[in-house]
């Protein structure tokens, strides 16, 4: 009874995993064909893609008329998107009625904005304070005089001529940079112990939040002129900016208040115990924590502001969407079955690029600032 045992002297060499658990086939089996229901759904999904992709590809690329095409090509049977129309009317979509020889001025404003904004958004870029002052104080004034003209021999371009993406961006940028601080101040005011400040802030927020933006713009365009002294007018563009900014700041205030309420009372008390005054307490202790919590909500508001700018058509301004719609309706020389569709697709793409950009940047900021709660 001695030779009954067998002891391996070395480890079995690890065999490769069975073929069916790695590689594309296994992945497909695990994720796409695991159960009969999965199989059916997968096949349906593939059929759907096969049904939807070729015509979409045909519309956007295959049969589409390129930027150098002609309207005759767009009018042909089976023609896809008419990109030639977009290319031909691009100036109107970007600048509106802005005089064509003067369009270098908005171009400079766009370029300056990009040059100042990009370093501001990159955390590692130096000179943040100078950069912020330039962007928030110097840039708007410079842009206003550059766009409106009337100084340094620049031709006067009244705001009625501004349009397209230019208007969308101006309203959004001003709206975003003003509504955020306004919203913070309103949120702090709403929590204030001082009755007048509190009442004013609560009243403002509840009044503005209780009406649709469209109503505020209607008020600005139809009611406001009736209250003004005869002969006194306020620029429509300014009215639209003020309306959009006030509206967003009320929402922003509530988002920030949410953040403030998430801060434990101990933080307020600890800040007071350090001997800090109200503003220092808020600036150094409370707000940095509170705002971090509500980044998604804040960016949500920014994105919705950006899209809401298209409502300024109510006051007769031609933002990007309205500029596209105007050309769809009036550019008779470009009429074809797909002209209007192409125009709207173009507008949607531009809006998407900006909103998606904001969304991705906010996710990046969240990750960067998520220091206290990372697990």
């Amino acid at each position: 009874m001695t030779d009954i045992g067998f002891v391996r002297s070395e480890l079995v060499t690890a065999r490769p995993a069975p073929v069916r658990t790695t590689g594309a086939i296994a992945w497909a089996q695990k994720n796409l064909f695991a159960t009969p229901l999965d199989t059916v759904l997968t096949i349906l999904g593939l059929l759907f893609l096969a049904w939807i992709i070729p015509p979409l590809y045909g519309f956007f690329f295959g049969n589409a008329v390129g930027p150098n095409g002609t309207v005759e090509q767009c009018r042909m049977e089976n023609a896809g998107a008419c990109w030639a129309y977009i290319a031909a009317e691009m100036e109107f979509f970007i600048y509106g009625f802005y005089d064509i020889p003067e369009q270098w001025r908005p171009n400079i404003v766009f370029a300056l904005g990009a040059i100042l904004l990009v370093p501001l958004l990159i955390p590692k870029a130096p000179f943040k304070r100078t950069n912020a002052v330039l962007f928030i104080v110097v840039y708007p004034i410079l842009s206003y005089f550059l766009l409106a003209g009337g100084v340094f021999g620049l031709k006067v371009i009244p705001t009625e001529k501004w349009g397209g993406l230019l208007v969308t961006l101006i309203i959004s940028v001003i709206g975003i940079t003003l509504s955020f601080p306004l919203g913070v101040i309103l949120a702090l005011g709403r929590q204030s112990q001082l009755p007048i400040i509190k009442t004013v802030c609560v009243g403002f927020i509840e009044l503005i939040r209780a009406v649709p933006l469209i109503t505020i713009l209607f008020m600005a365009s139809i009611m406001l002129p009736l209250f003004m002294p005869q002969g006194m007018t306020v620029d429509k563009f300014l009215r639209a900016i003020v309306g959009v900014t006030l509206f967003t700041s009320a929402y922003m205030a509530e988002v920030v208040r949410g953040g403030l309420q998430a801060i434990p009372r101990g933080q307020y008390e600890a800040a007071s115990a350090l001997g800090l005054g109200y503003w220092k307490r808020m600036w150094f202790i409370i707000l940095p924590q509170a705002l971090k919590h509500v980044i998604p909500g804040i960016v949500n508001n920014f994105i919705s502001l950006f899209k809401d700018t298209s409502l300024v058509y109510i006051v007769g301004m031609k933002d990007l969407l309205e500029a596209v719609k105007t050309k769809n309706d009036t550019a008779l020389e470009w009429q074809s079955a797909n002209t209007a569709t192409t125009g709207y697709i173009f507008a949607a793409m531009v809006f998407w690029v900006f909103c998606f950009g904001m969304s991705r940047y906010s996710m990046y900021m969240e990750r960067r600032l998520n220091t206290g709660y990372k697990r």
Binding site: P140, I141, S221, G231, T233, G316, M317, T326
Partner: protein, 338 residues
């Protein structure tokens, strides 16, 4: 933060608000150097951006004519896009000096809104469009035909009235939006599309094959479209009204932008009076005596403006019809200048 707010606000208030005295509109206009003209958001042929992104159209031409009369410069106009809701407020609040925006002249508007209609730049009216292949030649053949119509509009009421009055069977396919109506007609869901004839023509020009569709000769409603000014300023009203008449008078006398300089030497006393060679009809209007010469020189006469913007040679392709001069079978008529 507050500094920024203050700076911005100050800049904005300095640059963007304008206070003008309660003086006569003409004096205000002369002082600021341009005519502020209220137009549509874009209606082809009437007021729309052209391929160079400049406002053009028959209604835009009226504003240019007024600027030419005041400043000898048809480009001294600034345009404000107005929605139909805000147009009258904008006019009475002084945001625009003249409203030239496909506005139908009705009694209630003329008498109750504090505004005055200058005249009828364009006699519009509701018409019917059908497919040529259907062989319909008159609206009286439309009994029982499916009519695409926008709900809740005067268009619908007018059509119902017309069909009832002529004993025709009224069969509608109703939509809430103008674009849907056009789409439905184009897709063949109905036989007839009805709205104002100018809009019919503009929509037809957008179809893939415009020649497959015809607009029936019957016009079943009155839609006189004209420029409007604030009530109470007789001088400005007269200038607007006689700008309109000058456009018509020039056509009637055969004076065009091309031949206006030759016409200065004409022996016809009516032309002499129109162009300010004889007599001075401008000074009482508050402008120079060659005011009509300037209008014709810079803008042209009514026919030129019509043909350039909505006439048969344009994509809109509207015949003159009611808008022909009285001597050509239309109803456009200007009182004599004397």
């Amino acid at each position: 933060m507050q500094k920024k707010l203050v700076t911005l606000t100050a800049t904005a208030i300095l640059g963007l608000t304008a206070v003008s005295a309660q003086a006569a509109i003409l004096d205000d206009v002369k002082a600021k150097g341009y005519v502020q003209c209220g137009v549509t958001g874009g209606v082809p042929g009437f007021s729309a951006p052209d391929s160079n992104n400049v406002w053009t159209g028959i209604e835009v031409d009226f504003c240019r004519a007024m600027a030419a009369a005041v400043f000898n410069d048809a480009e001294a106009v600034r345009y404000t896009s107005l929605t139909s809701q805000e147009r009258f407020t904008a006019l009475s609040a002084g945001e625009v000096d003249v409203l030239s925006r496909t506005t139908t002249w009705t009694m209630s508007r003329d008498t109750q809104l504090g505004i005055s209609f200058v005249g009828t730049m364009f006699y519009d009216g509701q018409g019917f469009m059908v497919r040529k292949a259907d062989g319909i030649e008159s609206a009286l053949d439309l009994s029982g035909a499916a009519i695409c119509i926008e709900s809740g509009t005067t268009t619908e009421l007018n059509a119902a009235d017309y069909f009832a009055a002529n004993g025709l069977e009224f069969n509608t396919v109703v939509f809430v939006d103008q674009d849907e109506v056009v789409k439905a007609y184009e897709d063949g869901r109905c036989d007839v599309y009805t709205t104002d004839s100018s809009a019919l023509a503009a929509e037809r020009s957008k179809f893939a094959n415009p020649d497959d569709h015809i607009i029936l000769p019957e016009i079943i409603s009155k839609e006189p479209l004209g420029p409007v000014v604030r009530a109470g300023d007789t001088q400005w009203f007269n200038l607007a009204r006689w700008t309109y008449f000058a456009l018509l008078e020039a056509e009637e006398l055969g004076v065009t932008s091309a031949n206006v300089d030759e016409m200065l030497g004409s022996d016809n006393p009516a032309i002499k009076r129109l162009l300010g060679v004889e007599g001075d009809f401008g000074t009482p209007l508050g402008v120079t005596k060659d005011w009509a010469y300037q209008i014709i020189k810079h803008v042209g006469n009514y026919a030129e403006s019509y043909d350039r913007n909505v006439g048969p040679a344009t994509p809109i392709g509207l015949e003159r019809g009611l808008n022909a001069l009285w001597k050509d079978g239309g109803i456009q008529y200007a009182p004599p200048i004397r």
